[in-house]
Amino acid sequence: MPSSTFPSLAASRRLPNAWDLVAIVCVFAALMSVAHVARGTWVPLSAPDATAVSLDPSNLPNYAVRTTMRMFAALVASLLFTFTYATAAAKSRRAGLVMVPVLDILQSVPILGFLTFTVVFFMNLFPGQVLGLELAAIFAIFTSQAWNMAFSMYQSLTTVPRDLEEASYSFHLSAWQRFWRLEVPFAMPGLVWNTMMSMSGGWFFVVASEAISVGDNTWSLPGIGSYVALALQKSDIRAVFYAIATMLLVILAYDQLLFRPLVAWSAKFRFETTAGATADDPWMLKLIRRTRLLGALGDAVAGLFNRVSGLRMSLARPKPEAMRKPPSRAVDVVFYAATAAAIALALWEIVSFVSASLTWSDLGTAVLLGSFTMIRVIVLMIVATLIWVPIGVWLGLRPVWARRAQPLAQFLAAFPANLLFPPFVLFIVYFHLNTDIWLTPLMVLGTQWYILFNVIAGAAAFPGDLREAAANFRIGGLLWWRKVIIPGIMSYYVTGAITASGGSWNAAIVAEVASWGDTHLAAHGLGAYIADATSAGDMHKVVLGVVVMSAYVIMFNRVLWRPLYAYASRRLTLA
């Protein structure tokens, strides 16, 4: 019986149900928060309350909403960037030559070091407005998210299965249609996963970027980060714990309301012909699917989206690569010449900017301090590996435990570790500990979880027949670790370790200096160098520090992680 013969029944399915009540409350609460935050954004800096932060805990919900809004504003910007930049890099051979390496370098640059410049830049764009500060904070989060999202998209775009691409050409899909019907869906699981990982990293930066001091000026945007900064200044440990508790709730909500539903939803785009083991839908996704009103709204939005993405947006029929005219040599020459000129100009600018006030000995200092920070990162990676690899393997090989531990590790990775610094600092101050040693663990506080959950995932994916074979030949002890499990989880471990080590470099800028009231702690390292230069307003030293740190990170990646990853994916994968 077609449902259209029972119009009343069909209509009744659209009537609100009990779930809708929950949904309506959620939607209106979200809308009101957006309106509230938007109002605060357009006021001039001089207005009372515009940038005032108070330690009264009753302000925390408001601050939490504003912090979250910045996250999402940055997310929208990152998505726009991803869709345009990655597509351009993948579609145009010439653009790709420049854009891909640029993206690679940007990924390795310590974002926190740049806060100084971006604040000045955006303040000049909107002089005297809170909006400038907001944009600077959003930009900081954007820079922590956009690069790896764009990379994921780029990689997906360059690996679209050949047969699907041929099918799209043979059915005359326009470039616009192909993008939305084939390329975006194909890129979706990777993109969603990377977006969520970036969001996790982003919480760290939103907290760090809300209280910014450049030279003599200190600005703070109402938010959880500035709340903690004020608490540190006023030596108020109770306020610090309030902030930690609030952030826990925010991350929990983000995890449950957004992360899990999105990841589960994106599984339907996975390009596999075999139906894998699928987990149960998270409760939020169930709610959305069961809610009639939201469902109808979703259908309307999806319908609109489908109509727009189905437009041809093109006059000519697209031709596959092999049928196109060969690229013109003349344009190539012009393109390369223009690129070379741009690079030369940029190099000249950098040299003249830095050499204006810096000497070779400054460079020597920065490099030396960089080596201190590098030793810290190496020691931390070794310690974190020795702790988390055995634990991760133990958990991963026990499915019941793995299922429980995995979400927890992801949750901990998302929690901005800088909120946890104050108790550590208090501890160091109280016991008069050596700052060069005891400030170090802060760098890995937030990033170690990437190692843990990747190792859990690797151990959980370790094939049962290989485990049985190892048991059958009674391989145990060190031999088992050496020949069986470590090679088996290596590619997962390296993935986690790359993220963890990159994050640790970045965290050095906030972890190597700490303060509690009037007590200032600093370790010897490049992070402290950059942080000091920033608070002294010495732009030239900041640039030098950031450049040297970028060089270290890039070297670290090229010399250690890249070859290791290449080896692991060539030799140690199970496929």
Binding site: P2, R474, K483, R571
Partner: protein
């Protein structure tokens, strides 16, 4: 096989039972009261359909699984973990992809603490014996399936086990490769070149069992039991075309298609519809294809299963569920190793697409209570919708979650073909939308 060596008892399995406990429901019994003995100098095959628990039994013998009840005695001692002198060959080869052929083969020796020189010598010996000389430095990825399984064999033989366990060792290989590997292995065994006392293998291929084994234990499914035990009286090398060989294969087919004897304690006809049984995972296209083949000459409605399996290149595991599905729906009858079309089956084979769907729908409603129940619930509901979860939960009271999920999949696919209902995968919901 050296007849002068006195046979010794190697392995004894008594009253072995393996059950998985499911909350609130009755135990799901995989193996029930299984006994098995193994003497030196013999190859024993465990033959049965998938789900008959034969692989489970092999893992119990290997010490990889602990039976729920019963004793496993290996050379006079109870097995409590992977035992000395037992090596296994896996269906999926289970080679470590990051180790070369040589390293894979040496791994078991390394675990035994064999010194490096001896390790290399023995590994090279085993690699040469099994015909892999020259491939020592290759990685498993670089090898074909047949070569990989040779590595699996060499790895097992190099530790000089008394007992070799093989879990469907040839089923992941193509026909020709599998045959070469089988004959190579049997030749080595007959010539006494293998450092083994006994072989226990699991297979679902009847010819393979008759070709290789001295003794065959035929398993019945649900729960797994040893249905019968047969001695294979032929000397190696065996000839597949020998009439006695063919007769034995036919006999085993007959044995395996014999209808299970009904349990008379619960024989009340009213209760027949009570407990749902797993549905065989067979597609509707395959069923239609077989019905058409059977209806047409040379079969004209009647075929010998071994011959049919040979012509259609179907394995036991494909053909049996197919035959069972047809029998369940009343389109065909299985008896004594033969398959015979019923009148309904003949009508179906002659009909066009729409008529076929109608006949299939009738057969489903008459013979498959699960599908009939889903449709009934949909008809009764005002909104003509029903969640799949509740039906699956009901199934799980009677079978393992995996079987329940598979049975649901089959019911959904059959019901969709018959246009009895439509199904929304994301909402896990049945409905009558788009059903005329």
């Amino acid at each position: 096989m050296d007849a002068t060596v006195a046979t010794e008892m190697l392995l004894e399995v008594r009253n072995c039972r393996q059950a998985y406990h499911k909350d609130a429901a009755t135990d799901l019994v995989v193996l029930d009261d299984v006994a098995l003995t193994l003497k030196s100098g013999e190859i024993v095959a465990l033959l049965g359909r998938s789900g008959s628990g034969k692989s489970t039994l092999l893992r119990i013998v290997a010490g990889l699984l602990k039976p729920t009840a019963g004793d496993v005695i290996w050379r006079g001692r109870p097995v409590d973990g992977p035992a000395d002198g037992v090596a296994m060959v896996f269906q999926s080869f289970a080679l470590f992809p990051w180790l070369t052929v040589q390293e894979n083969v040496e791994l078991g020796l390394e675990a035994l603490g064999v010194p490096r020189d001896e390790r290399e010598r023995r590994a090279e010996g085993a690699i040469d014996l099994i015909g892999l000389g020259g491939f020592e430095s290759a990685y498993p990825k670089e090898l074909s399936g047949g070569m990989r399984q040779r590595v699996g064999l060499a790895r097992a033989l190099v530790v000089h086990p008394d007992l070799l366990l093989m879990d469907e060792p040839f089923s992941a290989l193509d026909v020709l490769t599998a045959e070469t590997l089988r004959t190579d292995l049997i030749d080595l065994w007959s010539e006494g070149k293998l450092p083994l006392k006994s072989v226990l293998m699991v297979t679902h291929n009847i010819e393979e069992a008759v070709l290789m084994a001295d003794r065959i234990l035929v398993f019945s499914s649900n729960p797994g039991r040893v249905a019968s035990e047969l001695a294979v009286p032929f000397a190696h090398p065996r000839n597949r075309l020998d009439p006695a060989f063919r007769q034995m294969v036919d006999d085993i087919y007959a044995l395996m298609t014999r209808r299970p004897v009904k349990d008379h304690r619960v024989a009340a006809p009213v209760a027949a519809a009570a407990a749902p049984t797993p549905l065989p995972p067979v597609g509707t296209n395959l069923m239609a294809g077989l019905l058409e083949t059977l209806a047409a000459p040379p079969y004209s409605g009647h075929a010998d299963l071994p011959a049919l399996a040979g012509t259609l290149q179907l394995e036991l595991d494909d053909l049996f569920p197919l035959g069972e599905a047809l029998q369940l729906l009343g389109f065909a009858v299985l008896e004594e190793g033969d398959i015979r079309l019923t009148d309904a089956g003949r009508t179906f084979a002659d009909a066009d697409t729409d008529d076929r769907k109608q006949q299939f729908a009738q057969a489903l409603r008459a013979h498959v209570p699960l599908v009939a129940q889903i449709r009934r619930v949909l008809d009764e509901r005002e909104n003509h919708r029903a969640s799949a979860v509740r039906f699956r939960d009901e199934l799980e009271d009677h079978m393992s979650p995996e079987y329940a999920a598979e049975t649901m999949r089959v019911a959904i696919s059959w019901g969709r073909y018959a246009e009895l209902f439509s199904y929304d995968q994301e909402a896990e919901q049945f409905s009558l939308e788009d059903i005329a």
